[in-house]
């Protein structure tokens, strides 16, 4: 397995008139990594991808591929291949012609192309389908043909622009594993654009979470999920309960936060914000639904929350309790279904408990809107 070619974005700014699509992005992508840009639509992640593939020139800053500055190099000269959101298969060409288009450009003979196409068709598990037209394939098959076409160009970096968004849920989940396997097999750098945090978490080595042109956090899936550095990352990646308040006391790596309605609560300070949060700062504290459990009524302390239950629901693997929240949104508690009996708490005051390490405090900021 080759080491692969890395991609670096240095102080990258991309503007469209007055609109700043990407603001000072600094990203180092290691060779052979599966790297994802995760963010809501319109956050600038596709813009970054287009600047890497060469369809957009950066307004400021540099794009380096394998250490080489790509300024002035057109998309047809870059060692990248892009898989488009709509796949952009050539409708008038047969599947094998589509796959080996890059070889046709390079001047390969039809025989060589046919042979390579058959190899790639085997790899994407579509043997013998080379003579069909793209319009005769199903969504998932088209998807795989697009991947084969991009791989046929033997790029150092494969760029994927939400390629799974048009597929149905089952197929999407299947393609996730398949993409990851292909990436491991060919060993080249994948840069993946998605707004689906599930896709990003399951496939990626590293993830950059973006919001409105700004990269909030870069890290592996676990870090992004467990140790978010901003309120946006905490609320965008996975479900989270938010508690608003001000910092009352700093205890080393932990903080005591005076929340607006739930009293004083203790929380771990996220790694990126340690030493930066001060007493009196506005803060937000996040606790995952699965990290909360029901405690004995009347328990009190800095890791207990008392709230009134609004409603309850049974989801199968979990039993969800929704209580009135701290700052508008309801607090969700997920209790794993292990066969125990659940009593109905609707309308009652209950006490919830969490472990300090499962709560994370970050400076107050904008939340992701669902």
């Amino acid at each position: 397995m080759s080491a692969g070619v890395g991609v670096n974005l240095e102080n990258l700014w991309i503007r469209f008139g007055d609109f700043v699509a990407v603001r000072d992005a600094n990203v180092n992508i290691n060779g052979g990594d599966f790297f994802s840009f995760l963010g809501p639509s319109g956050c600038g992640k596709t813009t970054i991808l287009r600047s890497v593939s060469g369809f957009l020139d950066p307004s400021e800053g540099r794009v380096l591929i394998g250490g080489n500055d790509m300024a002035g190099i057109g998309p047809n000269k870059r060692p990248t291949a892009l898989i488009f959101q709509n796949l952009a298969l050539f409708p008038l060409m047969k599947v094998w012609e589509n796959i080996t288009f890059s070889m046709e450009i390079a001047g390969a003979s039809a025989k060589e192309r046919r042979k390579r196409a058959d190899e790639l068709l085997d790899m994407i598990a579509l043997p013998g389908q080379g003579d069909k037209l793209p319009s005769e394939l199903s969504g998932g098959q088209k998807q795989r043909v697009a991947i084969a076409r991009a791989l046929c160009a033997e790029p150092d970096v494969l760029l994927l622009d939400e390629p799974l968004s048009a597929l149905d849920l089952k197929l999407r989940q299947h393609m996730r594993t398949e993409l990851r396997e292909i990436q491991k097999r060919v060993g080249i750098t994948f840069i993946y654009i998605t707004h689906d945090q599930g896709e990003a978490l399951t496939m990626s080595d590293n993830i950059a979470v973006m919001k409105a042109g700004i990269i909030d956090q870069i890290g592996d899936g676990k870090t992004i999920y467990n140790d978010p550095s901003t309120a946006f990352v905490a609320s965008f990646v996975g479900e989270n309960n938010v508690f608003r308040g001000t910092v009352k006391e700093i205890r080393g790596k932990e903080a005591l936060i005076a929340t607006n309605r739930s009293g004083d609560l203790v929380s771990r300070i996220s790694t990126a914000n340690q030493g930066k949060m001060k007493v009196g700062d506005e803060a937000m504290m996040f606790i995952r639904p699965e990290a909360l459990s029901i405690a004995e009524t009347g328990s009190a302390g800095d890791h207990f929350v008392t709230a009134k239950v609004n409603h309850e629901e049974f989801e199968g693997n979990t039993f969800n309790i929704f209580t009135e929240g701290d700052g508008g949104k309801e607090i969700k508690v997920s209790i794993p279904n292990l066969g125990q009996t659940f009593e109905d708490h609707t309308g009652q005051q209950i006490t919830l408990e969490y472990e300090t390490q499962n709560a994370v405090a970050v400076p107050a900021g904008e939340l992701a809107t669902e």
């Binding site: 593939s53 060469g54 369809f55 047809n76 291949a81 952009a88 298969l89 409708p91 288009f101 450009i105």
Partner: protein, 433 residues
């Protein structure tokens, strides 16, 4: 009751509609087979193919067809190229400029062809002078001017057809090609051009037909190369011949046959597409129309028409119209002779009546009548008589022949020589000096 009335009136309407649409063509086609010298249907004389052979012996018509084809091909190349580039620019240009650009490019369609023709001649003459070239340079050449003149507005038609297809083109396909290493030229030739091919073919046919039938622009630009329409117009001015009906018939049949073939091919392709998706169609024992016919009465009518043409061609191998024509001619001569005789008799009666009246008058006046009555018949036999020889039996034929000769020999028309092909050039030459 109401329903029946509605259905009947729909059929009546359809009948009128098609008669209006196709009637002239049918009449014209029939006149091509009538031996009558003037294109007509009702005094049907003889079934003949003579007009076709006359058509193919007419040097000017053949030359006109040749020029029309050359101009047509030139116009197709020019217009499709310009139309495609115009369409591409329309999709690339800034949105704010798009409406303005569109208006400018479409304008030639709205400008009368006559204006385009005149302006083409004037403009290229100026360019020719400015470059210091003589009147026989390519810029003053009839073919060049006609192709350029026609292309100015036919290119706009082509652009409209091409834009419609181009709007359905997914621009990411271009990006995908570039991303896979293709240059901009390769992306154009390998991706965009194949996608545009159906529209290019359509616009080429459109351009050729528009060029072939163009008159108003060409009439100013043709120079030494009169196209078919020009030749026809010049011929028609001196009297119309069924040979032109024959030409029209050939064009109609050619067009119908082309349309038929195209339709059949299209249906077949559709069938193939359907068959590749579906299982093989069921095979019936009995007779079945091919499916491209089964729901298309127009197609059946067209095939019958083509079959009729084929039959008539076979008929022409055996049928000899010469005898019939000879018979008609003798009949006509007999009729003329009869008419002449009747005229003579009428004349003689009138003269006798006049003589009688004069005799009566003379008798009343007491003068001799003998002399007058003897001179009168002599003068009627004399060609310099009081009535001239207007009523001479041979006169009718002679006058007709003389007229026909005049039309053939003297190109002098009521318009003088304003439209003479050589005229323009001499004017141009005088401008040069």
């Amino acid at each position: 009751m109401n329903n029946l009335f509605l259905r009947v009136s729909i059929w009546v309407y359809l009948g009128i509609f098609f008669a209006y649409l196709l009637g002239p063509l049918v009449i014209m086609a029939i006149t091509a087979f009538n031996s009558n010298g003037f294109p007509s249907v009702s005094p049907w004389e003889c079934f003949t193919y003579a007009w076709f052979s006359e058509l193919f012996q007419d040097e000017r018509i053949l030359n006109g067809i040749k020029n029309s084809v050359i101009v047509g091909i030139g116009t197709v190349i020019m217009s499709v190229t310009m139309g495609l580039s115009g369409a591409l620019i329309l999709t690339q240009v800034w949105p704010k400029l798009r409406a303005t650009y569109y208006t400018i490019v479409i304008a030639p369609i709205l400008v009368p062809g006559v204006v385009l023709g005149i302006s083409t001649v004037v403009f290229w003459q100026r360019v020719n002078n400015w470059l210091g070239l003589g009147p026989d340079s390519i810029l003053a050449d009839g073919l060049f001017l006609t192709i350029i003149g026609q292309s100015t507005f036919i290119a706009s038609y082509c652009m409209l057809v091409l834009v419609a297809r181009l709007q359905r083109y997914d621009l990411t396909l271009n990006e995908a090609a570039l991303d896979l290493g293709a240059s901009h030229t390769q992306a154009f030739t390998k991706i965009l051009l194949p996608f545009m091919m159906p529209a290019i073919a359509t616009s080429a046919v459109l351009a050729f037909l528009a060029s072939f039938e163009n008159y108003n622009t060409t009439t100013f630009t043709f120079g030494d190369y009169p196209t078919l329409t020009i030749e026809l117009a010049q011929k028609v001015r001196y009297g119309i011949s069924p040979a032109i009906s024959a030409l029209a018939f050939i064009i109609i049949v050619g067009t119908v046959f082309g349309a038929l073939t195209n339709e059949a091919l299209k249906r077949r392709k559709e069938l193939q597409a359907a068959a590749s998706g579906d299982t093989v169609a069921k095979v019936d024992g009995g007779f079945r129309l091919p499916s491209f016919l089964s729901r298309n009465p127009a197609m059946i009518a067209l095939i019958m028409l083509v079959a009729a043409v084929g039959l008539s061609v076979v008929n022409s191998m055996s049928h000899n119209p010469a005898q019939c024509i000879a018979q008609v001619q003798t009949e006509r001569q007999e009729q003329r002779a009869l008419e002449a005789e009747a005229n003579l008799r009428a004349l003689a009666e009138r003269r006798a009546a006049a003589a009688a009246a004069r005799a009566a008058e003379a008798a009343a006046n007491g003068e001799t009548v003998e002399e007058e009555t003897t001179t009168a018949p002599a003068s009627s036999g004399n060609s310099t008589g009081a009535f001239g020889n207007v009523f001479a039996p041979t006169n009718l034929d002679g006058a007709e022949d003389g007229e026909a000769e005049a039309t053939e020999e003297a190109p002098a028309s009521p318009f003088g020589s304003v439209f003479d092909p050589g005229n323009l050039e001499t004017e141009g030459a005088s401008d040069n000096n």
